[in-house]
Each structure stands twice: as C-alpha cells, then as structure tokens.
Symmetry: C2
Subunit: 206 residues, 2 copies
C-alpha cells in the first residue's frame, strides 16, 4: 500500500497492530476518524492512554479494577470460600451475567502456552496457590476454556495444590441447552454421556 | 455489559464508536493493548492525534497530503489536463495500483447522499467546477462507485459543467476479468452488452 501522507501511513500502521485488524480495515477506521469531529479522536486517544497508564488490578482476584479491591471482592455478601478460576475479565463478565455464581473469582491473566512463550510465572498462579495454602478457600472451580492450554493450566494448578484439603471442580462440559444432538461433536457428546447427572438434579437452577 | 472499571468502560466505549467495531470487539482490542507494552498504546494515541490535528489536504486535488501539493499533483510527468474524479483516498490508491492512469485526481471527499445529510456543498465540487471553467482540464473521468449516490453525484457534476467544452467519461462497467458469465448479475451483463467495445481495442492495455 502506497500512502500519500506519512501521518496517515503511521496512523494506519499503528491501528493495524491490533489483533484482527488488517491494513485495509485500519485505513477505513482512520479515514472514518478524519471525517468525524476532532474531539472524537482526542477522546479515543485519551481514553486509551488513561486506561493503559492508570489501570489497576484487584489485589485479591487480579481482575481489572479502579480501586484496590474490585466490587466483587469488596462485596460482603459474596462467598469468599468458593473461588472460580478464569482466564481474563471477559470470563468474569460472562459468568456474572448468568447470575448463578455468588463466590469470588481468581483471574489468571492467560493460560500456560509454551508456543506463545507464556509460562506459569507469567500468570497469577502463585498468589492463588498461597491463598489456598492459607486455608481460606474451600472450593476451587476451574472455568478455563477446554483447549490444550486450558487443560494444561488446570492440571498445573491442580498439581500445585496436591496435599491441601481444597475441593476442586471444573465447569460441566456437555451439549449446550437448546442444541440438537445430531450436530454435536463426538468429544462433547461422549463426555456428556460419561459425566451424566442424576435426572432429578438436571432441572435445578442455582 | 457490566464493567468493573470505569477506565476500561470508557476505553471500550470510545473504541466501539469506530465503524464495524461492536462492544465485544472493542473489549478484545482494549484487553490486547493492556497485555502489550505501554509504548504501543502511546504510539497508537500519538499517531491518531497527530494525524487528526496536523492532517492537510492537497490544495489542488483535495487528497490527503503532508505538503501543500500532493506527490501526484507536484509530479511534472503527470498529465494535468486529464482528471479522474474519485470519492476518497482509497480510490486514488486503488487506481494508482493499476499503473494505468497518468493524469491527475480530484478527491470529492464523499458522495451526495440526502439520507446521510451530505449535500453538494459538503464535497469539493465547487473547486472542481472552477478548475474546469478555467479551461485547464480537457477530460474528466468519473470513477465513483456505481450506486444511487455515485450516479447522483456524477450527474450533479455533469449538469454543472454543461456548456463547457470539457470531455466527460466514466470508467467502464462490465464483467470483471476472469469472471464466469453465468454468475454475473443481469444489470452488469446488460450494460456490458450495450457498452460493448470493438474487438481490436479489447486486448490493448493502457
């Protein structure tokens, strides 16, 4: 792509560094900003810079937060003995939307992935282990995505906790509610049969 | 979407103001920036702000440019009597990539669109008309997209130029090179028959 302006080229280059945004999309976005009032670009720049510079993480659960303790961790009504281990803030938001979980979270900040060069020391695993060691947690629910990396991370943490009395569980894998059996993949369908649940328990919510 | 941080919410909101970027994508992009070094966010913000504040438009063709005259307009080898009328800089880049055009451009900055509230006075039509009136242009090539808005804009400019000796043409519409006839839409195929060209001219490039 040949640009007639260095400023434009720079802006498009920086925009195209974002994941899933190629040069063409970046150019479209940048040209859109040029057509909008200058204030919109200023607000976008300010918001991004402010976030990146002033962002804090909850000292308890490592979730993104503006305060030292996030709203979930500082809510006395939530059960601090039950902790759900998730990858990032999007998973917290997804689970919160269900309204089915009243415990605390622990945000790892990623999954162990040798290919991407992410090891256990890059994630907030050590604080989780010491929280469990201190005896304040009775149940740990693993809610990482069921990929190779997710399973590795689950297993790594599980190994670290051997010998502690903490109960560990993982969220149920199975056929999504409303889905047709015939279109389900074999692994999921197979797991859903192995991990079948008593019929009386199947219509109980929360 | 419930956010645990006002800073995060702000950044996601501003990002989702860009066209084609919803709240979920915006969150994904913003979280990506949080995982990258602070310098990446700083560079993105600076590039966008610099572009928006310091951007200039070529005084001749209204294309985005860092100088008073863009590189095309200041190139003495280009034919200034032949002007291609386009919507925005992306069209200039697309035509330049073909290597088939050696004239100048005139960037309108959009198309007449009553629905979006864009009238002739919002586009750089008046400078084009006065350039033609001054007699320095011998041929005007309309290269707007063939939509209702594009056709309206072409026709509006054409009407303004009635009485001047300028030659006007429009880029050929027809079956794309390499396409199968059976899959072509009727309007395009119909036009390609009406506007058929002499066979001897059909394999001449530039």
């Amino acid at each position: 792509m040949e640009f007639s302006s260095k400023l434009l080229e720079n802006a498009v280059y920086e925009m195209s560094q974002l994941p899933g945004i190629g040069k063409r999309t970046a150019l479209r976005l940048v040209l859109h900003l040029l057509k909008q009032p200058e204030s919109q670009t200023a607000q976008l720049s300010t918001a991004l810079t402010a976030l990146r510079e002033d962002i804090r993480f909850c000292t308890n659960c490592h979730n993104i937060s503006d305060k030292e303790l996030c709203e979930i961790c500082s809510n006395p009504k939530r059960d601090r003995t039950m902790v759900c281990v998730v990858e990032d803030i999007r998973d917290v938001m997804a689970i919160e939307n269900t309204g089915q979980f009243t415990g605390h979270y622990h945000v790892l900040g990623g999954k162990i992935s040798p290919i991407e060069g992410i090891g256990p020391q890059d994630l907030s695993i050590a604080p989780l282990v010491s929280k469990v060691m201190s005896g304040e947690i009775s149940e740990l629910i693993f809610a990482l995505s069921s990929t190779m990396e997710g399973d590795t991370t689950n297993f790594y943490i599980y190994k670290q906790l051997q010998g502690t009395p903490v109960k560990t569980s993982t969220i149920a894998r199975g056929i999504p509610v409303g889905d047709e059996l015939e279109y389900a993949d074999e692994v999921t369908l197979g797991r859903s049969i192995i991990n079948r649940i008593p019929f009386e328990g199947s219509f109980k919510m929360s």
